[in-house]
């Protein structure tokens, strides 16, 4: 049993892949928090708590939901939007929810605009620029999501959540698997449920890099 835990960074000059540190992905019906397998229900509560605690809770939708390339994708996009609206309704003054797309995976020249997008090759730029202290990836192809999650853990203190349609992500601090419209909406319900019960860390947000 590994002692390694997937925690907010900045972790290392080159942080390891959590899978290589003995972290396993959850089975269906499960999720993980910090690399420890938990029942999915517990992960909803923790993700909602992290969102409500954050100064800049942010959703990063990727190409698989940004594009209406099939019916299900468009429905998921609607659910993502609804989750964002819920978040906006439930936060307290001073908290600033954001919805920033990861439209593609290309290295962009001369540089990305961190106000409008996040890029897997340097996701830290968008995190730092917007002082994002909690984020959720959804609809990003798994390989690219893992690259981003690892770089974020390496250089920022942002808390990362993955709402993954496949097997989940060990490189996030909290990960769901088999994401569906229902699961996205259920997270919204948990946010509503916990509204007003979580104290936002309005002054102590640590979002700058240490290196």
């Amino acid at each position: 049993m590994t002692q390694y835990r997937v925690l907010p960074g900045p972790e290392h000059f080159l942080p390891p892949a959590a899978a290589s540190m003995g972290i396993y992905l959850p089975n269906p019906g499960e999720a993980h928090i910090n690399g420890v397998i938990v029942p999915e229900e517990k992960a909803y509560e923790e993700a909602a708590r992290q969102f409500l605690m954050a100064q800049v809770p942010t959703i990063f939708p990727g190409p698989l939901v940004l594009w209406a390339w099939n019916e299900k994708a468009a429905k998921k996009a609607a659910a993502v939007r609804s989750l964002y609206e819920t978040l906006k309704e439930c936060v307290q003054p001073g908290q600033k929810p954001m919805l920033i797309p990861m439209p593609d995976y290309r290295p962009k020249y001369p540089k990305i605009n961190p106000e409008v997008e996040i890029n897997p090759n340097h996701p830290n730029l968008t995190i730092w620029h917007n002082k994002i202290d909690c984020c959720m990836f959804i609809g990003v192809h798994c390989h690219q999501a893992n690259l981003s999650l690892k770089i974020i853990r390496g250089g920022t203190s942002c808390y990362t959540v993955a709402m993954c349609a496949q097997a989940g992500h060990e490189d996030a601090m909290l990960s769901f698997r088999d994401a569906s419209v229902e699961k996205i909406l259920k997270l919204g319900e948990w946010i509503r449920k916990l509204k007003g019960t979580v104290k936002p860390r309005l002054t102590s947000a640590k979002t700058s890099a240490s290196n």
Partner: protein, 403 residues
């Protein structure tokens, strides 16, 4: 994320039923058949719902590659052709996998080496291609004979590497291999290796699954990277862009990418254990003497153990089935009682012994040998002799024999 159509229970154009892979492999009736290893490869492919197979002749895999051509002619494979060299073939396989196909190929020895540039590319691009490697010599002077040296070159490519002992392993693992390597969190190529001739050209009784059952088709929309078909989604996507900048973050991206490949190898562990029933098989590992081997060296080891038992020496056996993922913990556990660990190998450098030495405590327990190479057989007597000599028992000298 994509519309995953459930094909299970429906039929393909050959009238085979797409079957739940677990049920097909573990619950369906088996039919004992007397086949060569090459024929077994063909029979596995008949049941694999393979989209594209690309062939090239090189001994000892030529027969298998040609037999799969017959399957194509019969309508069991989506497309099939002979490429112009192994380098080209492996790139053609990559092209087909980028396009969302389930892809299969076979190679051997110098062919593996010629194609080598492709393998880290396959892994880096997360292409779940299955490649059979029927191992043979690679050095000059040319040898077509069995020799497992080429496996050592595959171990650091990022591919999954399994080493089959028997034709039965081969049949089961070809089909199970697709299931492991196509898992979205794994999605890596698999080199399924065997010892050339010993497995490919000998006949054995192999229990086959029914011919009217086949694996469900590959679903490229569960891939961890976008499939290149202008569908998923049909926008600005390049496989795989590299970052031509000289700064910390561009290097970090490339480093993170490499780590992700090896993370995927780690993730395959869970599935490999499930499908091939553990990364290793063990027998009597409470004994003080243990043989650790892979491929047909396992069979020779088993025979040596029988001979040793006749002489009152008790010896355990560890069959290493998967080399990537590497069963480090399993081998540590299985060798914890051993005072002497013997690693018989069909290659001159002893790569398996080196891997084991790097894995276990007190590695001076490992006797790297016996080795044969260049096509020599490994009579069980030489394993017996090696063990007895190390144990300080009197052993007959086994001279080289020739006619």
């Amino acid at each position: 994320m994509a519309e995953i159509k459930s094909h299970i229970g429906t039929q393909n154009k050959k009238g085979q039923t797409y079957t739940d892979p677990w049920k097909m492999m573990h619950e369906a009736p088996r039919n004992p058949s007397f086949y060569t290893g090459s024929e077994v490869i063909k029979e596995a492919l008949r049941r694999a719902s393979c989209d594209v197979m690309i062939a090239y002749p090189i001994t000892p895999q030529s027969e298998a590659a040609a037999l799969i051509g017959e399957l194509f002619a019969e309508g069991y494979i989506g497309d099939y052709f002979r490429g112009e060299s192994e380098f080209a073939v492996m790139s053609q396989c990559a092209g087909a996998a980028f396009g969302g196909a389930r892809v299969f190929t076979t190679t051997a020895g110098p062919g593996t080496m010629r194609a080598m540039e492709n393998f880290p590319m396959w892994a880096g691009a997360r292409l779940p291609i299955q490649m059979i490697v029927t191992c043979r010599g690679i050095n000059s002077p040319l040898s077509i004979q069995p020799d497992t040296i080429e496996i050592s070159y595959l171990l650091n490519t990022g591919m999954l590497v399994w080493h089959a002992e028997t034709a039965q392993d081969f049949f089961d693992w070809i089909l199970k291999g697709f299931m492991v390597s196509e898992e979205p969190e794994v999605h890596l190529p698999l080199a399924l290796c065997c010892d050339g001739f010993f497995v490919t050209h000998t006949k054995d009784v192999v229990n086959l699954t029914p011919t009217d059952m086949c694996l469900p088709p590959y679903d490229p929309y569960r891939s961890p990277v976008p499939c290149m078909d202008m569908e998923c989604p049909p926008v600005r996507m390049m496989r795989d862009p590299f970052i031509m900048k000289s700064n910390y973050i561009s290097y970090a991206t490339h480093a993170s990418w490499q780590q992700e490949i090896w993370a995927a190898v780690e993730r395959s562990r869970k599935h490999t254990i499930k499908w091939i029933n553990g990364l290793i098989d063990t027998e009597n590992t409470d004994a003080e003497v243990v043989i650790v081997a892979s491929g047909t060296a396992v069979s020779q080891g088993r025979e040596a153990i029988r001979l040793l038992e006749d002489e009152g020496v008790r010896c355990g056996l560890i069959k290493v089935k998967s080399l990537r993922p590497w069963p480090g913990e399993e081998i540590r556990e299985a060798t914890k009682n051993a005072k002497h660990i013997f690693v018989p190998e069909f290659n001159v450098t002893g790569w398996l012994a080196k891997e084991i030495k790097a894995t276990i405590p007190n590695s001076e327990r490992v006797h790297a040998g016996p080795h044969v190479c260049g096509g020599m057989t490994m009579p069980p007597e030489i394993i017996v002799s090696e063990i007895k000599t190390a144990l300080g028992l009197r052993s007959e000298s086994l001279a080289g024999r020739g006619s």
